[in-house]
Point group: C2
Chain length 307, copies 2
Amino acid sequence: MSIVVVGSVAYDTIETLNGGAAKALGGSASYFSLAARFFAPVSVVAVVGADFKREHRELFVERNIDVRGLEQRDGKTMHWQGRYHEDLNKRDTIDLALNVFSDFKPALLPDQRRSDYLFLGNISPTLQQHVLSQMNSPKVVGADTMNHWIDSERAALTRMIAGLDILTLNDEEARSLSGEHNLVKAGRAILKMGPKIALVKRGEYGVLQFSRDGMFAVPAYPLEEVVDPTGAGDTFAGGVMGYLARHGRLNEGILRSAVVYGTVMASFVVEKFSLERLTTLTWEEVDRRYRAFIELTDCQHPRWTSQ
Amino acid sequence: MSIVVVGSVAYDTIETLNGGAAKALGGSASYFSLAARFFAPVSVVAVVGADFKREHRELFVERNIDVRGLEQRDGKTMHWQGRYHEDLNKRDTIDLALNVFSDFKPALLPDQRRSDYLFLGNISPTLQQHVLSQMNSPKVVGADTMNHWIDSERAALTRMIAGLDILTLNDEEARSLSGEHNLVKAGRAILKMGPKIALVKRGEYGVLQFSRDGMFAVPAYPLEEVVDPTGAGDTFAGGVMGYLARHGRLNEGILRSAVVYGTVMASFVVEKFSLERLTTLTWEEVDRRYRAFIELTDCQHPRWTSQ
């Protein structure tokens, strides 16, 4: 089944102590769709400016990502500039120019409204609600958010998440949204706000999944080198939603596998700057790392227990 | 098979924003043995002062911990005073009085020298080597260390760990010992220094296990409340070594289970101040949490996949 993702398509300028990328393709919807497309057909809904390069549109099209909803307008594409510390868990936003994104008002096409899977990237909860109201009766709706909206639009955010299937957010955001410092309490408090599932992203420390069936804890895939963490969360969400759409149903077992696939997808994107690694990634590589991840985390596999 | 542990038995004064403990029983050998004793017979080798309370010796004896090697001398028992930040991952040492521990020169009893399992708690690498040299031919030797020894006695430490089976250390110590910031590189570099297995402790984020068979990543057991992290690492080591001694052999499967049991034991000790929780803990509770932990981390269990 196909997925609609609504979010940003942007140009990112990324600086780290070991190099960077200038005006590279980025944005939540880009990362999400380049990960999700390994599992299911994806439609992108976003806005770009007149400067958006044909090669970047082609990059989506060549990977069977539906770009009918990638609206091009006069003006410039959103631009984000960030600088990472030596500790790549920390970054500063040097510049954020919303440009054409500042009056983005997503309108879904008729077939998109009938889609079973929807992911609302990190845009204002009011816009997320606006998209939700256009949908017929989606099976699974996921959304991401960030501290900015938790602080500035808490009421709209609370309304938006009340009916969600899946909310993704990082550990600090989970604390801020719930008012609980302890992550177990935070996760449980967030479920009480409505979402059926909360996926708390902890960067290099992995993910805590909260659902009505309990908790699931997965470490991140340990990498020898992390080059650029930009987009890891959106790539994770793309893997999760992609896997769910591919399976067409949602239970605890399928959800856990989806979270592992999301973790695997995220482990690739951080290996190179921007979303470059996702453009060369093959299914064989995904499958190999999925199996390596299972081996990495499994203490009860016959391979180990029969020795 | 039985385990000998050499380390500190101390009195700890612990301060947190939510209370504390004054002159509570502590020290690496205390935490270790109170965890390991659930799995195998344990002999403690340590030194205490004339002020060491009879009730604390009894606490060990009642749990079948062999205290023949718990030497009592004139003078005072080692005392450590620490203050935790609101973020319990951070603490300051307010006071450290080594007292009788300052000229501790452990001498093993003849039957202890023939033991198959030895754990060297966090004491100077020179003392650790001194203990090692008294052993006949142990099957599994584990040791813990800390930044202080990495900085001040690197040469002795490097010699001591060269023949180790298991080295436990935290993430910062792994970075410092190896000179590698990335933990995967750090773990692999440490294996090249000699230990067959390196267990890198990441506090609330779990453990990374490095061995010749590859990596194993386990999250910590997510708790609703962490009261006092003191001794978590020693308790973890007690669970790991205890499980290995109980099984009498060491392969990747047994090692992984041992690391999970270590994680489970550590999850209990932090629930109360000092080592209080270990004194009331029952095997039923350990077993229940072990099963909960497997469920928490397992994405391929029939319970999930058959839904």
